[in-house]
Amino acid sequence: MSGMSLFTPLSWNDTGFILTGVWNTVIISVLAIAVGSMLGVIIGFIRAESGKFLNMVLGSLLDILRSVPLIIQLILFSTFIGAMGHPISPFAAGSIVLSLYTMAFMGEVFRSGFESVPHSMNIAARSLGLTAWQTIYHIRFPIGLRSVFPSWLGVALSVIKDSALVSVIGYMELLRTSEQLISRTQQPLAILVGIGIFYFVISYPLSMFGKRIERKMAA
């Protein structure tokens, strides 16, 4: 093979490059799931507890985040921040947007969980002398959180896949890594199959972990 070729095939030298992509996908997904879940618990609790007006305002804001495609949110946000004269790294912009997007879905998940705890459970706890906060912490939170674990897992798994979209603003995660490799090697089939396997390898432990937790809770 002549050294003049425009394209160079995939080689072991690309391992580091690919693993960086894997790592970047993992890190932005974990961050978005963690931050999104924490904010989601707060949002979900406020929505479960609050009156009609606050619920309507919060609900509409969340609806925007949930219904505008993630790819558009990413482009709009990073463009807007750039236009304001404070450009931030693709990682920072991607993390913020993906976290808020995750929060919007997690908020609904947790709200349904908190609402599923019957009011009579509160009264039973209060009648034992628990304060309002003790009741929230020891009764409503643990019961509400448990009941939504399967839905939480579903959202978390989809966030890992959605993180691929952060590539559009230049974050070098798994998908963008693969695009660059494809344009260099012209071996799309092998690379996409390989990348698909990597997404599976990232998601599978989470899904397994989820099944184990669910079994434990059922016991």
Binding site: P118, M121, I123, S127, L128, G129, Q134, I143, R146
Partner: protein, 240 residues
């Protein structure tokens, strides 16, 4: 002593309690009977300060329950309550259910709380259920757990709100047996109940509620066996 003086309670425009007066001395068992909507359950909720009142007073051991200065969380430690729905905490084992409040409300050590919880679970006959989750138990067992959970706070009074109404008929007996044990030990109790023959058997006093007032009150031999008021006779003829 629980001293209820001229208590009025409304939900919106609907007046549910229209001037209730009664006293329950230490060691006494009071049963409250009456049709649905007569206000009997509402009164229990008012004694426990779960519901507020519009007029009158409820005094428990000298504490004015609805006074703004009263610490209601603290007061509720004196008043154990069991509801129609047992509301077991599904994320905790039977033992943890009973140990939770002693642990976090009374701030007992884990060992002390567990010890009290075990004692009360044995008390209600659940000694072989410590480590299972309550959702695996029958309604009768869960209701006995609810009683043990309340007793673990070592209350001075127990309030029972139709605790057998949601149970399958064959499970009612085991729960009533538990109440008989408490009566024999001298626990002060107010039982809102539809179990008329049980009320006749265990009560020192029976109050018949009708449309928010006490229509008739006295020892069970009078109110249940030989009622004086027309309304009482009519009610009893329907339920007995």
């Amino acid at each position: 002593m629980i001293d209820i003086q001229n208590v009025h309670k409304s939900f919106g425009d609907l007046e549910v309690l229209k001037g209730i007066d009664l006293k329950v001395e230490k060691g006494e068992v009071l049963s409250i009977i009456g049709g649905s909507g007569s206000g009997k359950s509402t009164l229990l909720y008012c004694i426990n300060a779960i519901e507020g009142i519009q007029d009158g007073k409820i005094i428990v051991d000298g504490i004015d329950v609805h006074d703004k200065a009263t610490n209601k969380d603290h007061l509720r430690q004196k008043l154990g309550m069991v509801f129609q729905q047992w509301n077991s905490f599904p994320h905790l084992t039977v033992l943890e259910n009973a140990a939770l409040a002693p642990r976090i409300v009374k701030k007992l050590s884990k060992d002390e709380a567990i010890e009290i919880a075990k004692k009360e679970l044995i008390h209600v006959g659940l000694e072989d259920k410590f480590d299972i989750y309550p959702t695996k138990m029958s309604g009768g067992q869960q209701q006995r757990l609810a009683i043990a959970r309340a007793l673990a706070m070592r209350p001075d009074y127990m309030l029972f709100d139709e605790i057998t109404s949601a149970l399958d008929p064959e499970l009612v007996g085991e729960v009533l047996d538990t109440l008989r044990i408490l009566r024999d030990e001298g626990m002060t109790m107010i039982c809102v109940t539809h179990e008329i023959s049980f009320a006749r058997e265990v009560s020192d006093q029976v109050a018949f509620f009708h449309q928010g007032i006490i229509e008739e009150m006295g020892p069970p031999e009078q109110v249940i066996s030989n009622p004086q008021k027309e309304m009482t006779k009519k009610f009893l003829s329907k339920v007995l």
